[in-house]
Symmetry: C2
Subunit: 238 residues, 2 copies
């Protein structure tokens, strides 16, 4: 069995390599890549189907790499291994995981035993395994009141990029007023006016981005990726 590790932090990579050798004795070869682009290349080259993937990497992040890997070989098993329990990552993964492929999401703060368990479950057994810590995010207190639906999230991304209402409407195929309604519910759900002093009037748009970052609904890599999507859309528009 061949396994690919995609991880840019040297310490984490060697720890991982260690745990992997310990947990999966039948691993014959361990490949290593230090960023998403190299990871894609390696997976393609060596025909690898079991991958441990860091999410936060410079040149190309784990989600983008996973997307192309899954596009080429949907049966690949990928265990995501990340520092943060960011909702942004979860949404990104949920959007790209093929129907019947195995994947997992585990935090770097998890114990060595938990990591080894996840390695076996996902890479060998082909199960789906999500760290409880992370799963908690998905339904924030069962209250759908604060949970963003997909169209709200899409508008949030566009807002975060700095698009104006009119352009968001065009891009997402909504009317101007509908976009504004989405914004209103974003303001509500992200508690844009109530989190600081009640009497303060803020710039709601900026505050929304600020709150989305603070609550880990968005993170900088997501913004980066969203910007690339936007550029592609812009290129196709004219």
């Amino acid at each position: 069995m061949k396994v690919l590790l995609v991880e840019d932090d040297q310490f984490h990579a060697s720890f991982l390599q260690d745990a992997l050798a310990e947990a999966l004795p039948d691993v014959t070869e361990i490949f290593h890549a230090a960023d998403g682009a190299a990871g894609e290349e390696e997976a393609r080259q060596s025909g690898i189907e079991a991958i441990v993937m860091d999410l936060q990497m410079d040149r190309r992040n784990g989600i983008e790499a996973a997307r192309t890997i899954w596009a080429e070989r949907p049966q690949s098993r990928i265990l995501f291994w990340s520092n943060y329990a960011d909702e942004a990552y979860l949404r990104g993964i949920a959007a790209i995981v093929p129907d019947d492929s195995a994947y997992g999401y585990i935090l770097k703060t998890a114990s060595r035993d938990r990591l080894k368990l996840a390695l076996r479950a996902v890479l060998v057994e082909g199960q789906i395994m999500v760290d409880r810590e992370i799963h908690r995010l998905q339904k924030r207190g069962t209250a759908p009141r604060t949970r963003l639906d997909d169209s709200e999230f899409a508008v949030l991304l566009d807002l975060a990029l700095g698009l104006q209402d009119r352009l968001i409407a065009e891009r997402r195929g909504m009317s101007l007023r509908t976009v504004q309604n989405r914004l209103l519910s974003l303001y509500e759900k992200l508690e844009v006016h109530s989190d600081l002093d009640e009497r303060l009037t803020l710039n709601k748009r900026v505050r929304t981005l600020n709150r989305a970052l603070a609550t880990r609904t968005l993170n900088i890599e997501t913004l980066d990726a969203a910007q690339r999507d936007l550029e592609a859309w812009l290129a196709g528009r004219m």
Copy 2:
């Protein structure tokens, strides 16, 4: 000699401990804290004057911890050890370092040898040592055209928190129009209109925050800290 390590990532901490023992044989005791608050406490308790400090930590980040430590014992020697070369961190450190105390800033991607060198230089010799990689930031291409001055940076922080022009003016003691002038130069320096399609009209405020994050002029921890400052100011205002 006693040294305190403040570092929340277990792998990094043990690597650091290793390198430290190797580089500084006359270290008698190594203390360890997993976040800024614990670090402050430990430094106070044990009367420590040589510290290696991670910047990005959950409960209380390295800069805040360093501020209180330096406030209590200005001669403390602190080597900051961070994943990222973010301008935000540099500004934070520059703002709090006492006149004649030793400090350093080195990246986690630096080689073991470089780390050991920095440990000796800062903690033992009391030198000031900044990773070249980081120093490059400080004067982005010698062109002060893109460099933000302090008052621009202050306005950027307020903008990022979502404050309106009027309130920024009040907080920073400027007229409304002056605040707007600062904003204009921020838009200019962060290339708010030219980085995407030239013809696109964007929401400049949001785009400014987006660009500041993308260029690592700001990061999420900085926003967090700025928010706490703001709350303190608000409390004192009424």
